[in-house]
């Protein structure tokens, strides 16, 4: 009897896991090398995250890739760090909305859809994370305003990351690492 082909290939799952690790480590690396929370390291951190997400979506062009990548990221953060628990709802909602937008625009095959989808995810998630920061710092609502400014600065990096992601994909295609 012929077995049903699973939706996710093992290679794709491994790529998602590796990229989840790379985004986590590179975020920590930028925070350490950049000397803590300053505008430039914030922009750089978000830029790297978005760039890596774009490259991942070019590599794994399947519906659900973005949500699964975010889910793995958040599950490991939750199990190992605890603090990410309340970021799950905004992250998953933003991921699902972005996937919906990509589908509505014509799917994963068009490169521009990936960029719009990731940009939309970043915007939604950043708005959600400001809400979560209000939960954590509601006694100090001045700090919530400060964190909203910080998130806004981070979003500039995320927007730049969309274009650097596309540039990297171009280079990776030349190197035949991404073939699609």
């Amino acid at each position: 009897m012929k077995k049903k082909q699973p939706y996710w290939e093992m290679r794709e799952l491994v790529v998602i896991g590796v990229f989840a690790a790379v985004t986590k480590v590179s975020s920590i690396l930028v925070a350490l090398v950049g000397g803590g929370m300053n505008p430039l390291s914030l922009i750089l951190k978000n830029l790297l995250f978005t760039t890596l997400t774009i490259v991942l979506l070019y590599k794994v062009r399947k519906i659900g890739a973005l949500t699964l990548f975010l889910f793995v990221n958040v599950i490991v953060s939750m199990l190992l760090m605890g603090g990410g628990l309340f970021l799950i709802p905004p992250m998953i909602v933003a991921g699902l909305a972005a996937e919906g937008l990509i589908l509505a625009l014509g799917g994963y095959q068009k490169s521009i859809n990936l960029m719009i989808g990731v940009g939309f995810y970043d915007l939604l998630f950043k708005a959600g994370s400001v809400g979560v920061s209000w939960l954590y710092m509601r006694e100090q609502q001045e700090m919530v305003i400060m964190s909203a400014i910080i998130v806004g600065i981070g979003y500039i990096g995320a927007l730049m990351g969309l274009f650097t992601g596309a540039l990297f994909v171009k280079e990776l295609r030349h190197a035949c690492i991404i073939r699609s």
Binding site: M10, V14, A21, L68, L79, L80, Q140, I177
Partner: protein
Amino acid sequence: MHVLFVAEPRTGGSGFVSGLDVRTKILLSLSMSVAVIFFKSCGSLGFLTLATLVYVLDLGRYKVVSLCYVAICLMWLLSIGFMGLICTMIPMVPVTDPVTMLIPFLRTMVMLNTVLVLALSSRIQTLLTSLKSFKLPIWLYIPSAVMIRFIPSFIKDIRQIHETMRIRGYSLNPIFIFRHPRLSVRLMAAPIMFRALRSADDLGVAAELKGVGYGYFTENNKIKSYTPLIFQLNDAVTLGVTLLLLIAAGVIQAVWGTDTTGMLP
């Protein structure tokens, strides 16, 4: 394959906390992360900070713990300084006392204590085994396992990339990033990306050739963990004490709790 032969991290010795089941530590970390959201008084959060400090000190890693605490205290002092600056520049922002400013940092300290225990006293293999014991679907378990396994190897790759940059005459530090942001991105992101994609391809092929994932959680799956997880009396006691501590913190909040402060209603 290099990724599969990464040395295990140093664990936290043979104390009471080190002997706990990793699932107990994860559960404790999760319950504290939820609790710190609901507690908002200095008393209840201070009480939880002290309780979790006893928990983390049992590991005997005093240097790491004190370094983390010094960093948090520095951030608190910095925020007091900046708040003073904002109050001077914008008079409509009310002046906040340092004790109230401490509350978000107390939340961080509680989380830090529980996370440090998990990070310093758990082996990677034990974490993977506990992840498997949660019966996650394969499409979630495989990427999570790869992520946990890949991080130590990737940190070594980063060190190699850093050494390569130093050989070429570049030194990545805050001043260099400020002076050459574009070059920093190129020097850092490009090798990281190439390395990650190559490793992902290698690992993917290796996983397929080894038949990873076939028979996962089926009746034919006879693979057992080398170090089985055992839930002992210590774990039950720890979880019971945690529950009592949370109830006590709730009582402190109810009796000596403070109202929300700030310029917004």
